[in-house]
Symmetry: C2
Subunit: 321 residues, 2 copies
């Protein structure tokens, strides 16, 4: 970190996020120094958001700040970790104090909510790009991985699906400000809610988990592949929000649309009885959408017919694939 | 991390860096899971490199890979930490297998040398930009901070100064390939050597330390400010390489030129007797260039006259400041 950069981080971010235990040395030196309680593992993930690729170029700065942290906290949720610290690498075309203040506000509000301390950062000038590294803690016995699903397990998702994809369509195609259902859907895209509590509740209970960043079909296929199994899902059971229905959302939004940041997980039969209790504790709906089986691949089944579901979704590198 | 992105990371980076203890779960899930031995602190830093800002746009890909990791390992060195893990967020304009292979080779060669495991990553399409997060381990009693310098301590630097700044001038102004001294100087810019061993040796011995990314005057001023002290340095004592002298390097290169990634540190009087031993153990020259005193600010003194040294250097945000 260097001078004007340090100043920038200090001005806009220092103290802007929760102070918490475990921060031995925060922003202002060459590296942050963190204390992780002994038996816990440190969970680490990083994701880059590029303007116009991962969010609409005209998204409000506070939404971009929220989203940059949220997508990383979602990774923490997917492994069952409690997020603790974050590092922010921010590249902006120009030093615009209003934009930075707003970005910081969105970032800090979410960080505060989950007790995440911003412990390091770097700012540079260039095309808008934000990389966040999230660090968290998880007990070894509570880790959620993609690779543990077994035939007979139920396939579940949190929340509702397809909202963000439909929200993106509303955002791009309509005049602003959006209102009503369209505004709600756009908020699902711009201010995703990482399912931290759900991840914590599922730790040690779910057999496998992944977060839905690129769409159910693609992300669930990854989970199944990592577990060496397949699954059958019922497209009619995919949970839809009232706004999704009101705005005419279709099954391809729910099946292939990205950016919902819900969790998709598998529950062993013995744990399914606990689903309602988990749902209440996590404060988010959980819906069983199918069953894991031994045959590789993802299939849809409805009204007696079965078909193969293509593991396509939004892949930022390959584009829609 | 998503599909094509995962594939890309797998193809070019998986297994490309040292496997090491402490990696409970590496690349391929939503987050890496790491085990840090109990009493140690986890050191974390992240830095972004932008093409044309932090390295010449025409730099070889393997040098960019080396450099992206090196600048972060240098932060680990500056706090006395042993680097252990890294996360790589890579944004490239197009998927060019040759470029990626070469980038990966440069990154992996340096990672292997210091036993660093690449445990997570993310690739996106966009203007060339690389963010690396380095994670390391350091015992609490061995931490080096910027803020511990005391009046009477000696001011020291590792290696030689100004090489990278002069190397940049050679790189930009001459026809390629460079040869002889110019090539050596350019390599100091493109393939900086993080002073990991020196940092480890100085842990618990030096009273303060910082790495030299933005030039001696600016970075030393930061150390002094963090410590609430000042210092007098003798510009004639700044260590210069043979190539620096041969190519006509001047004092402004050594004083204000960035990108050397040497360590600047302060040694209490009682520790100065150990300097030669530290030098041998670290495998790099250490030179005493001045003395910490109580008066705020950085001053130069030579031949009986004293002057104030401006804390200017290269600040990527503000440009030369």
């Amino acid at each position: 970190m260097s001078g004007g950069e340090e100043e920038l981080i200090r001005t806009h971010f220092r103290g802007a996020t929760a102070s918490r235990d475990g921060v031995w040395l925060g922003i202002g030196d060459d590296a942050a120094l963190l204390r992780s309680p002994a038996p816990d593992l440190v969970a680490a993930s990083c994701d880059t958001l590029i303007g116009g690729v991962h969010f609409p170029a005209d998204a409000p700065a506070d939404a971009i700040g929220h989203r940059a942290l949220a997508v990383n906290l979602s990774d923490m949720a997917a492994v069952g970790a409690a997020p603790a610290w974050a590092l922010l690498s921010l590249t902006v075309p120009e030093e615009d104090p209003d934009w930075l203040r707003s970005f910081s506000r969105g970032f800090a509000a979410l960080a505060d909510r989950y007790g995440v301390a911003l412990v390091g950062g770097d700012t540079t000038r260039g095309p808008l790009s934000i990389t966040v590294t999230a660090l968290g803690r998880v007990a070894e016995e509570g880790v959620l991985c993609r690779g543990g699903a077994q035939p007979g397990d139920g396939v579940w998702v949190t929340g509702t699906l397809g909202d963000a994809a439909l929200g993106l369509a509303c955002w791009c195609e309509r005049s602003h400000p959006l209102a009503g259902d369209a505004a709600w859907l756009a908020a699902r895209l711009l201010r995703p809610e990482p399912r931290i509590e759900a991840g914590r509740m599922l730790a040690g209970v779910a057999s496998a988990a992944i977060d839905l960043s690129d769409g159910l079909a693609l992300d669930l296929s990854r989970l199944l592949e990592a577990s060496g199994v397949g699954a059958v899902i019922d497209p009619e059971r995919l949970p839809a929000s009232a706004s999704f229905r009101a705005e005419g959302g279709e099954s391809h939004h729910a099946l292939h649309g990205g950016d919902d940041y819900e969790l998709c997980f598998t529950l062993p039969p013995a744990a399914e009885a606990r689903a309602e209790e988990l749902e209440r504790a996590a404060g988010v709906a959980m819906t069983r959408i199918g069953t894991v089986d031994e045959r590789a691949g993802l299939r849809g089944r409805s009204g007696g017919s079965t078909w193969s579901v293509e593991p396509k979704g939004y892949d930022h590198f390959g584009g829609a694939s």
